[in-house]
Symmetry: C2
Subunit: 397 residues, 2 copies
């Protein structure tokens, strides 16, 4: 007499989480140096000094009520003002504090957006494989369905043929995630323009807006000077979800936001529905200490050189062995084709060598694995002989 759906979601753990927790347990047995954990996106660069300074300043200058009390649901007004000011400077916008809604990270942000846009059990949310593996457990328990377009081989931009076929009158939103988890690919301005044009056309055809939910926790983590297009510049009906987990290396502290635009179709209704949905999933306010950390540190640039270095080490190393890898332009994930053609089998095989890589089945690409390279560079270097041995084992060498 429990919810069978919820039990399944509880039982069928996130493959990332499962490997991550396995890795922690396994390290206790064989020693941390013998586990090469490339499973989870826990940033390896420390949080910047400014985070610590911000916390100390809050402890020193604020009363307990200011520091620890409830803020309004959207977050402390002054903090929101400083954050939107920073966004406006970066992307050339004119957002107001009231357009920003601070959340406990990107997960509840995306869920609130989708739940607010789920009009009935026919509502669909279109994603493009490979996509973040949690979208299904985030969205389907609230009545909508996640529909996954085919991958765009070999560039892993968007597959417009597949998207075009799957869009229909029940499509409420397209969820995009760029820099992408799991590929590290950044959707180009051309890709965003094409998507905007397709959605404008279909919105007109179906007589209702199809929104974009742009899930952007990796926005600041880009390499080689590539810029991430600001989606609302190309498509007004966009809800932007963000998290400080990656850029400020604070994944455990749960701080992020949703940015609304008053230029959206039915802007007031969308805002209300998303805020209502947030309340229904237990949002009271984002952690108040970290609301101020976000406001104090939102202009701090992450040290992407560490990840760029790791990317090169891993990409060059694996390519040299013979692996077929997508070259990441951002984030800290590399998408690698399983040489045996089956990501699950490859992940299992790698596990036997103490190497933890995430099978991409739940990302919509069962023939791939995801390798998180937000680890110490030494771990990547030391893992190379193992990746070679695994390659050889697959190929019977």
């Amino acid at each position: 007499m429990v919810s069978e759906n919820m039990r399944m979601i509880g039982a069928h753990r996130s493959c990332i989480r499962e490997l991550f927790e396995y890795g922690m347990e396994y390290a206790k047995v064989v020693g941390r140096e013998n586990v090469f954990d490339f499973s989870i996106g826990n940033p390896s660069t420390p949080a910047p000094e400014e985070v610590r300074d911000s916390i100390l300043a809050s402890l020193e200058t604020l009363s307990s009520a200011q520091l620890n009390g409830y803020t309004c649901a959207a977050g402390d007004y002054a903090a929101r003002q400083r954050i939107v000011d920073s966004v406006n400077r970066k992307i050339g916008g004119s957002y107001k504090a009231d357009d920003l809604f601070l959340t406990c990270g990107a997960a509840p942000a995306v869920i609130a957006c989708a739940k607010g846009l789920t009009v009935d059990h026919n509502s669909q949310f279109l994603v493009n494989a490979p996509h973040f593996s949690e979208y299904r457990p985030y969205i389907e328990p609230h009545g909508g369905t996640v529909v996954s377009a085919k991958p765009d081989y070999p560039n892993f931009q968007l597959n417009f043929e597949s998207l075009g076929e799957l869009l229909n009158e029940h499509t409420q939103a397209v969820i995009i995630n760029s820099p992408n988890n799991p590929t590290g690919v950044i959707y180009s301005e051309e890709t965003i323009r094409r998507l905007a044009s397709l959605l404008a056309e279909r919105s007109k055809q179906y007589g209702h807006p199809i929104y974009i939910i742009s899930d952007e926790p990796y926005r600041e983590l880009t390499f080689d000077g590539i810029e991430v297009p600001w989606v609302p510049h190309f498509y007004a009906d966009t809800l932007v979800c963000y998290s400080y987990s990656k850029a400020l290396s604070l994944p455990g502290q749960r701080i992020g936001w949703i940015l609304f635009s008053d230029k959206m179709t039915d802007a007031a209704a969308v805002h209300q529905a998303v805020v209502g949905a947030a309340r229904s999933i237990g949002h009271v306010c984002a952690p108040t200490l970290y609301q101020r950390v976000a406001a104090d540190c939102c202009d701090v640039k992450p040290d992407v050189e560490v990840y760029r270095h790791n990317r090169d080490l891993l990409y060059n190393g694996l390519c040299e062995i013979g692996y077929d890898c997508v070259r990441p332009q951002g984030a800290f994930y590399m998408f690698v084709k399983a040489p045996c053609g089956d990501g699950d089998a490859f992940s299992e095989l790698a596990k036997k060598h103490g190497v933890l890589v995430v099978p991409a089945h739940d990302f919509g690409c069962p023939d791939y694995v995801r390798i998180s390279f937000c680890v110490e560079a030494e771990r990547i270097e030391s893992s190379m002989p193992l990746f070679r041995r695994i390659w050889e084992e697959v190929h019977g060498l």
Copy 2:
């Protein structure tokens, strides 16, 4: 083309939140000294020194990855061990770390429990008026229905006649909240025993367990030496939800927990379903800094003397004027009958005098208001002439 239910939840704000935010805006106009804000349960006693010490120790001794990284979904193991040890000492239990699931406060804890127990659209959750106003927006968007038993006048314990009539084969759980928000009443051991006996009988009759969800953020805030019974001692099928918001004065920081018991009927399935439900509402992990704060400070006793003093000031003051008040045994709320017989009208009238009290309509008692006395004592004293004037206005004096 948005969820109409979610839009309504976003539009029909929490009456508490609405007054609280009105109070903040109004204070900017007329000055903080002219607003008597008894709306929200923001603790007025500062967080204990130990919270600050814990944060400083974490900043000093932990690596950024330890401090800021994701923990497993249930929370850091060592932190959970220390917290259950503390619970076991207090209530004489034998809970294990794995029985504890740390959450972003009590709100998502209660939602996860209810969502995990919602088997279909017939599922019902029984509460007893007056009840916390947020249970409906927390539970009904996930498919269940909140059914409210009549108040137990004048003691505001549980109304067993009404509960008995409303229990049926679709009742999945009874949600209790003691010390109670909004009455400050503590359910006696006799009340809990009677509830346990009723639910045991009905569970047997309907052929499935009816769980208790015991929502206990005010457990430590009691006056006059009254102890809060530990519900699982009387009824094994109990999920306990807790928050450090009130006892440690940290409502904005979002840290709480769910405690499972392996003695529950279908314990493993319930645990899985609730954890799955937590994932579906965006739970990744509780804020890691505050996981450690909770572990470091879970034995710190709150300064209830401040609230006891406030209770006496408010209770004696209002009774002397003529108000019909429930005498709080815990928490920091007083439930007061609207002298005009209509809580909404009374709240509106009081607002005109700069006094913000919450109409109890959404608590299931439209003829009452809730007065939060977690304020400076001076505010209570200064408000008495206003409460007298309001009383006189109602009575045409």
